[in-house]
């Protein structure tokens, strides 16, 4: 049942001298939903690009189950409006037959747009189209980069609901990046809080109590997620470098917080 699809161990990516992501360990198995959260510029997108193989690792190891199909939903489609393209044609470019494509469009609720131009879609419709496109390829692993971007708040909830139901039906693994903390906490199995390194990881209910989470998102957010606040072992400066907190009085806190 819990067949591992992808594993990262000690993974790091650096561009020239800048370490974007370092020392990440994670495993995603069939049926898992792993959500990566973290501030802007924390390396979230770089991390999933490494997982899907678009970005090479500069440290550590990436293992993917041989022969798995990955469905990728990019953050945004920078569409050249100079390229005329219908939804139908865009779906067919997966190389799958139209029946599978149409079914995927139906699953994500945008089948009625098949004949429309992709330049006429709203943000939410585009996200659903991109998910449908990933689905048509019958992925073992679905990777989504901020799937709810540009989607209104009601749409966001139903989008996450959709992702969860797809996971249930297809028994695929899901890795996604998200900023919508409330929704993430409700819709995910495993959370990684990333700020260049893994600040903390675990189940949603644990993570919101983790000092690493509080450090990244602030006490206010953590509190609003009905969590108690506690102090952290380190801070980040503006470049994201780790600065140890002056008083080390919270060393005794039991947490999965990665030591530095």
């Amino acid at each position: 049942m819990t067949e591992a699809l992808v594993k990262l161990s000690g993974a790091g990516v650096s561009f020239r001298d800048t370490q974007v992501v370092s020392n990440v360990d994670l495993t995603v198995s069939r049926g898992d939903i792993l959500t990566i959260i973290g501030p802007n510029g924390a390396g979230k997108t770089t991390l999933i690009k490494a997982i899907i193989g678009v970005q090479g690792l500069t440290a550590g190891k990436l293992w993917r189950k041989p022969g798995i199909t990955i469905g990728y939903v990019p953050q945004s489609l920078h569409l050249q409006s100079a390229l005329p393209l219908s939804v139908r044609r865009f779906m067919l470019m997966t190389g799958e037959n139209w029946r599978d494509c149409e079914k995927a469009l139906t699953d994500t609720g945008v089948a009625h747009l098949a004949k429309a131009s992709i330049h006429r879609l709203s943000g939410g419709e585009m996200q659903r189209l991109l998910i449908a496109r990933a689905l048509a390829r019958q992925p073992d692993l679905l990777v989504l980069d901020e799937p709810a971007q540009g989607v209104d708040i009601n749409g966001q909830a139903s989008l996450y609901e959709l992702i969860r139901s797809l996971r249930d039906r297809l028994q695929c693994g899901v890795i996604m990046i998200s900023h919508d903390l409330h929704l993430v906490m409700a819709a995910t199995d495993q959370v990684i809080c990333l700020n260049h390194h893994v600040c903390c990881s675990g189940y949603p209910e644990d993570i919101s109590r983790d000092p690493g989470f509080v450090e990244v998102f602030g006490a206010q957010v953590a509190d609003s997620l009905a969590i108690y606040h506690h102090r952290h072992t380190h801070e980040h400066d503006l470049d994201g470098r780790v600065i140890p907190t002056q008083t080390g009085e919270n060393q005794d806190k039991a947490s999965r917080h990665a030591p530095h």
């Binding site: 690009k49 899907i52 193989g53 678009v54 990955i70 469905g71 990728y72 990019p74 489609l77 920078h78 569409l79 050249q80 100079a82 390229l83 005329p84 393209l85 219908s86 044609r89 865009f90 470019m93 997966t94 190389g95 131009s117 330049h119 006429r120 496109r133 390829r137």
Partner: protein, 270 residues
């Protein structure tokens, strides 16, 4: 046979047949230039063609060959240099475009035994088209069109979204190189028609005009071919009647078509 000989024996018909052949490949490649925003890139390659001309005279090799080879080298240099991004790509392109043009001009001036009609290289010399040029044009066009046909889905997908294409197993980097190779070939043959300074126009104006008429990528390619061919025919006829330079006349005809289509047709809902 007699009729063909007669047609090929006439410089106007040779020019027309050659021009139509170039329009045929410039259509689809021009679409990629427009889709991938490579107009400045095409310009740079075209300018470097003059350096290829200089090499051709220097090494006593066929000009088509040295032009294509120089374009390929410049294209590869661009790929390597743009990876090492300390300068913006457009700055880099500007430097290479004008430096290669200038080096080409200077090199040609150092060859006293070579009597070069610079105008012919800068603005085209369509009416001096020989039968061997026609073989180059149609040979090159056949190769490029066959490659485009065979690699169509991969090329189109990597144009729409590189990362999606990569995840779907399309060899994006290799296809980019293939596309540059095709550009180099087309520039080598198109130079004869419109010259280094106007090649980009022949690539992008028909494609941009086709955008208004098309609802799918393939329709856009087909329209770009048709519009390019109309522009070549119209431009050459005008040059015949008004004794205007052939290359610029073709570009003027293409621009007239562009203006006509954009002022008559509203944007497509696609």
């Amino acid at each position: 046979m007699l009729l063909i000989d007669q047609i090929l024996g006439d410089f106007f018909w040779r020019a027309l047949i050659g021009g139509l052949g170039v329009a045929l490949v410039a259509g689809p490649l021009g679409c990629f230039v427009v889709w991938r925003r490579m107009a400045y890139f095409g310009d740079t390659l075209a300018h470097s063609a003059l350096l290829g001309v200089a090499f051709g005279f220097l090494l006593q090799l066929p000009l088509n060959l040295t032009i294509a080879a120089t374009c390929i080298v410049i294209a590869l240099a661009l790929v390597v240099l743009s990876r090492n991004q300390s300068l913006a790509t457009d700055t880099l392109l500007g430097i290479l475009a004008h430096s290669s043009l200038a080096v080409g001009l200077v090199a040609l001036s150092f060859m006293p035994d070579v009597r070069v009609d610079l105008n012919a290289y800068l603005f085209g010399d369509l009416l001096a088209m020989r039968q061997s040029d026609l073989i180059w044009i149609y040979g090159g066009a056949a190769i490029v069109l066959a490659m485009l046909f065979g690699l169509w889905r991969g090329l189109l997908m990597s144009t729409i979204h590189e990362e999606l294409a990569k995840v779907e197993g399309i060899p994006v980097e290799r296809l980019r190189l293939v596309l540059m190779l095709m550009f180099s070939l087309v520039i080598a043959v198109a130079m004869k028609i419109v010259g280094v300074l106007l090649i980009t126009a022949l690539l992008i104006i028909p494609a941009a005009t086709a955008r208004r008429l098309a609802r799918s990528p393939e329709q856009m390619v087909a329209w770009a071919m048709v519009i390019g061919m109309i522009a070549v025919t119209g431009g050459l006829s005008a040059s015949w009647h008004f004794n205007s330079p052939a290359g610029p006349s073709i570009v003027v005809a293409a621009f007239a078509l562009f203006t006509l289509v954009y002022s008559l047709l509203r944007p497509q809902r696609s």
